[in-house]
Assembly symmetry: C2
Homo-oligomer: 230 residues x 2
């Protein structure tokens, strides 16, 4: 009998794993047994164990019981925030500047991705994000006008397309790809970087209810790092 509250219980159980009382791969007592041991309802134990399972610390199977994960697969959680917040989080002043804004027939891969007809135009944007007036990231973006026609009248000089879309489109699914690339001349110029420098790139595509909305590439200034705790 220790304490209650699924948080407390969770922490306690995690400790027992760390201490080695429950070794890697070991089978943990059942929920009912733990409930009586901790002197709480099974529901509470269940919550705690589900949280641990969610964190990848234990694996649960019906009838199989709960066991400590042999290969602790840790989950890193990134908050995909808008660039402005990223900049402001570093204590810098955010500003952005629209470099290019036009209707344009996108290249083939984009056409496919957006589900456009060939020859159909989309909205193309190039934006420079600045931190304390120094280049922070360069953004290339394609927007599907069928999905978001009113972006043409949005005040994109005041609010970045990034932010406008997030605030306007109710909700969306999407994918994110992180990679590294050697910066080309165009991006290098905007970022005031030497050509060929390795930079961190994030590609993101978002949909709203199966309809493509936008795809973008974000080229971060050299030296950018993405940090997370496990």
């Amino acid at each position: 009998m220790i304490k209650k509250s699924h948080h407390t219980v969770r922490q306690s159980m995690q400790d027992r794993i760390e201490v080695g009382e429950w070794p890697l791969g070991a089978l943990i007592p059942g929920e009912i047994e733990l409930a009586s041991e901790y002197g709480c309802a099974r529901t509470t134990i269940n919550r705690a164990l589900q949280a641990l399972a969610d964190a990848g610390v234990v694996v649960r199977k019906r009838k199989g019981g709960t066991r400590v994960c042999e290969m602790p697969v840790r989950h890193a959680k990134f908050t995909i925030s808008i660039v402005r917040e990223q900049v402001e989080a570093t204590g810098c002043q955010y500003r952005h500047s629209v470099l290019t804004s036009m209707l344009k027939i996108p290249p083939a891969p984009i056409v496919t991705r957006l589900g456009l007809k060939s020859g159909e135009k989309a909205f193309y944007l190039e934006t420079l994000h600045l931190a304390d007036d120094r280049p922070f990231a360069f953004e290339e973006r394609w927007v599907n006008l069928k999905a978001v026609p009113n972006i043409l009248t949005a005040p994109l000089d005041d609010i970045s397309a990034n932010e406008w879309l997030v605030k306007t489109v109710p909700f969306s699914s999407g994918d994110v790809i992180f990679s590294a690339m050697n910066v080309d001349q165009k991006v290098a110029t905007s970022l005031e970087t030497a050509i060929g420098k390795a930079i961190f790139v994030v590609k993101r595509t978002t949909w709203y209810k199966e309809e493509f909305i936008t795809t973008m590439k974000l080229f971060y200034k050299e030296g950018f790092q993405l940090y997370t705790r496990l």
Copy 2:
């Protein structure tokens, strides 16, 4: 009265947000009201709403109620797996090869990070990870011998240090840093890449109960991408 099961309820509510029935920033009905609407217990509604809050879709405050998140901060969840699993996930055959393995006095930044005394040695490892016998990633690792002395007798040719540590050390916290860099000569040689190519780098440091265990850098072959769905 629609259905039950917190999954169903969660999905339903998410739909109502997507459809615009509950616009961005709007206040959602209270749990009791929703419970009667959905014809289920308040607990069930609570679960669903907590899940949505966890996903960053809504924000909840006691007395303030639940409202749709104005700035939908999406959370990307990465599974920090061992390299072998990463390789095998692509359908390739995994193999690794220990290039260097020695006791060595680490450079200053590492000493600080590991909490060593100056002049104290640590275990240094260089490992090449291969996919179908082609270079996949190059790993540099420092291990704190005070924390894990028996790594010296581990069969690191059969099982990578990466995997051995994960399987041996009960549990640990840590941090992860993603970045991009221009590959230097040493790494380029191992990865069979041209010097200066942009590669994706992951730095990871792990602790076990406040004690430093290991720090490593993983240099991925050029072209490597980290993918996630939102």
